[in-house]
Structures are given as C-alpha cells and as structure tokens.
C-alpha cells in the first residue's frame, strides 16, 4: 500500500557524517575542521560553501549526503520537492559574530546569515528545489511535528517529496538529522511515523 515512507537518511553528529548510504559515511578529525573536510569528501560543487555560515554548511552537507546518487529532479518537478527544517539555536552562532561586527562596521555577508531559513534557501539553490520550505524553532528534534507537518504536505499534494529534519550549530557543534519522505509502496522503507523516526534519531545520537 502506498504510504509515506522514509526513503533515506543522513546525519551529522560528533564530527561524523552518518548515512544509510554506505558510500556517504565520513569521520572528521576535529570540530574545527570537520565541515570543510566533509565538504571535500562529499565533493559537492558549491562555490558559495566557504562563504556560508556554519549552520548553512551543516545543512548543505547533510543534504548533500542525503541526496547523493538520487536524481530527484528526474522524478519530480522542482516545485514538487519541499524542505522542512527545525533548529534550536537557529542562526545564533552568526548572530553573535554579526553583532561583533556591528562594533566597527556591520558586515553584510554575516547579516545575510542571521536567518535560519537561509539554510533551506541554500539547499534549494544547490539542489534546484523550489517546493514549500519551512523552518521551525524547537528545543529538540520533535519527530511528531515533522511527521505531522510533512504527512500533511504530501497528503494535500503541496509537495510530492520532502527533505525534512533537524539542523543545529552552536559553540562549534554541528548537528543534523535529515531524511527524505515520499509516498512509496515498498516495504523496504520504514513508515514515516514519529516513533520510528525517534528510534532512528536516538540510535544515531547514542552511537
């Protein structure tokens, strides 16, 4: 039966890139170098990468690992693929840096990244996605919020496929837990249910 299922996932935690795609697994040497090392590993060609803030870098890397070897845009129109993110610290890491720049001359390139949804924007630009994007501020990865929201987007036909998940960056700690949800009748893929996502998330966070 066609149900919303989790087609794949990718996560970032403890300077590691974790994924159900065995070719998309990577361990970094330390927090200071992880984001750039992972960028090199993923071979994402995105000239803006070095200019983005760390929240966007984290989101872009997780999206790169998640969408590697998928050809979403062969299957869907750009406007049929949406992005739903949640974050705790939002753009606070950059907010602080930008506030520091305000003492001398406010930096436009920092100010641009003082909005968390720019991370969804960067993913959209890199992967050419134009569907609905939303960004929630939550204290923790709220699996139920994601499953409810994304199920509804899919049920109403607002999008046909959704990149969904958690991304956070603060005090040099990069975290992401992204998954791709779409209708599928293949039982090889787990159902898009909050308890299943929670279990997956917990297992990664404990690893």
């Amino acid at each position: 039966m066609k149900q919303v299922r989790v087609m794949r996932y990718a996560a970032i935690r403890n300077n590691q890139l974790i994924s159900d795609n065995p070719t998309m697994v990577f361990s970094g040497s330390n927090a200071d170098r992880f984001l750039e090392e992972a960028y090199g590993f993923l071979q994402l060609i995105y000239p803006k990468f070095y200019k983005m803030d760390s929240l966007c870098k984290t989101a872009l890397l997780a999206s790169g690992a998640l969408l590697a070897q998928t050809d979403l845009l062969k299957k869907y129109a750009p406007a049929e693929v949406g992005i739903t993110l949640s974050t705790r610290h939002s753009s606070l890491d950059t907010d602080l840096k930008y506030a520091e720049s305000m003492k001398t001359a406010s930096s436009p390139s920092l100010f641009v990244y003082t909005l968390p949804n720019v991370a969804a924007g960067e993913i959209s630009i890199r992967h050419g996605l134009q569907g609905e994007t939303c960004c929630f501020i939550e204290d923790f990865f709220n699996a139920k919020l994601h499953t409810d929201y994304v199920d509804q987007l899919l049920a109403l036909g607002a999008v046909k496929c959704c990149l969904s998940g958690w991304v956070d960056f603060f005090e040099n700690k990069a975290e992401a837990f992204f998954y791709l949800a779409e209708y599928s009748d293949s039982e090889n893929y787990p159902l898009h249910q909050s308890s299943i996502l929670d279990t997956k998330y917990q297992s990664i966070w404990k690893s």
């Binding site: 750039e36 070095y50 200019k51 001398t104 001359a105 406010s106 930096s107 436009p108 390139s109």
Partner: protein, 86 residues
Amino acid sequence: MEELMQNLKHQIVEQLNLQQVKAEEICNEQNLFGPDGLGLDSIDALELIVLMQQKYGLKLANPADGQKIFQSVKTIAEYITQNQPK
C-alpha cells in the same frame, strides 16, 4: 600603485573570507565578479564597500557605483588613488 594593489589583494582575501584563493594568485586586471573571474557576487560587493570605508575612508553611497569600481584590483586601486582624501 603596485604596493596599493598588493595590499588590496590581501585585504580582499581577508575581508571576503576567500579560503580557496591566495592573494598572490590574483592578477591586477583579473575580473573580480562573474564566473570567468573570482566569482564574487552582490554580497561580496557590499563587503567591498565596507572595506573601502574602513581601510580607505571612502564612502560609496550607491551600490551601483561599485560595478565599475570593483571590476578588478587595478580599477579599485585607481579609484582609491583618485579619491582618497590627501
């Protein structure tokens, strides 16, 4: 002029956080914007405006003026030489 251009290259690399570019590798007349040049974009142009103000005391009121001035390291240096308060 040559010294000013060398300084500018270092300042541009630093201010724009160009991690993949070495100051020494930038040519004086190389295009800074666009895909055939250094690939800078509109936000970088704004950052260059901040640089001009902070380091050279030059205020660009209209971002559109930047298009001409920021073509290359050479054009920036020329603009500074012509306009810097003595």
